[in-house]
Amino acid sequence: MEERYTEVARTFGAAPERLAGAYERDPDARRDLLQDIHVALWRSLARYDGRCSLRTWVYRVAHNTAISRVIRPRANAPTLVAMDDSLDAVADAVDREHGVDRGRALDRLHALIQRLRPPDRQVMVLYLEDEDAASIAEITGLSVSNVSTKIHRIKQMLIRQFHEVSQHGE
């Protein structure tokens, strides 16, 4: 189990930390969540039986740990929104900066992700992690067509909202 965990930690590198950042804005809470994710991964690998890919297993454990932690209502939590029709509106509402640099764009991207309902948030994070629609569907349990539709909306929004970053990066 420990060898497998070491392999997972090496393979997935900083992905769990990026994922924790999609759920917790506060650095201390983020660090706690990251620890919880690693403990859950370490414990869960004893139950891994190859029914799904190790990649799917790792992302499921990580997202499900995060969901268990953040699902309870909090006093300072923003209202969560569905991705369907309001993705751009949410992005607009997230304190748009002029002359966006990468640091600010990243803050905005985090703020945007944290405003999404968990299923939409998971799709967006997995898309940003460069997972394809079939993998995202297997991890999240949504249909491939549903995931594809969501990815299409995410791409459109990212292009509209974050094109300044691309221009700076070119």
Binding site: Y5, R18, T65, I67, S68, L128, E138, L158, F162, G169
Partner: protein, 186 residues
């Protein structure tokens, strides 16, 4: 061009600066032990609290002279034991870290929402168990020192508080039910 932008944002996400976290196997084992110890502590504290309440109620059944109060204490004792049994079953049904990879994110999210909804929707069932016992106890005690009108006002206030809590919980349960329905329609 559009693809370049997507790639750039994806790259920006994946190459974001990371804080330096030293998560070694030893640190994970220590954290796991810490979590287990926390659960054990809560279980011990819960056990002590239940034992103290049980002894207190048995003692009160024994020493009370008023029949209403004695019956009330006995009913509180029965309610306490029922709540303990129900709570044990409820906690056993919770997801444990070992099984988190077995469920897809949607299944897990749905089960967490359903659990929260049930907590909100059924909270009155937990409280209701104590109402007959505490009610009899209070009425028995108050009839000795207060007028019937004062007792009636206090009963009304108690019922209103209970109804208020019920209303808030029912509203929360409806919100969670809407979220579950939205998840199922995806």
């Amino acid at each position: 061009m559009a693809n370049d932008r997507e790639l750039d944002i994806g790259r920006m996400w994946r190459q974001q600066p990371q804080e330096k976290h030293d998560i070694t196997l030893d640190a994970i084992r220590a954290k796991a032990r810490e979590l287990d110890a926390k659960v054990r502590r809560w279980n011990v504290m819960g056990g002590i609290a239940i034992a103290v309440l049980t002894v207190k109620n048995v003692w009160e059944v024994w020493i009370d002279t008023d029949v209403l109060e004695r019956v009330g204490d006995l009913l509180v004792l029965v309610a306490l034991l029922l709540v303990v049994l129900r709570f044990r079953g409820y906690m056993r049904a919770d997801a444990v870290p070992e099984t988190l990879g077995l469920a897809s994110c949607a299944q897990h999210y749905r089960s967490r929402l359903a659990r929260l909804r049930d907590e909100s929707r059924d909270s009155w069932k937990w409280v209701l168990l104590f109402v007959p016992g505490i009610g009899l106890n209070l009425v028995g005690g108050m009839l000795e020192t207060r007028s019937a009108a004062q007792v009636a006002i206090l009963v009304i206030l108690g019922v209103a508080t209970f109804a208020g809590v019920l209303w808030v919980n029912a509203r929360t349960a409806r919100q969670l039910e809407r979220e579950i329905a939205a998840l199922e329609s995806e």
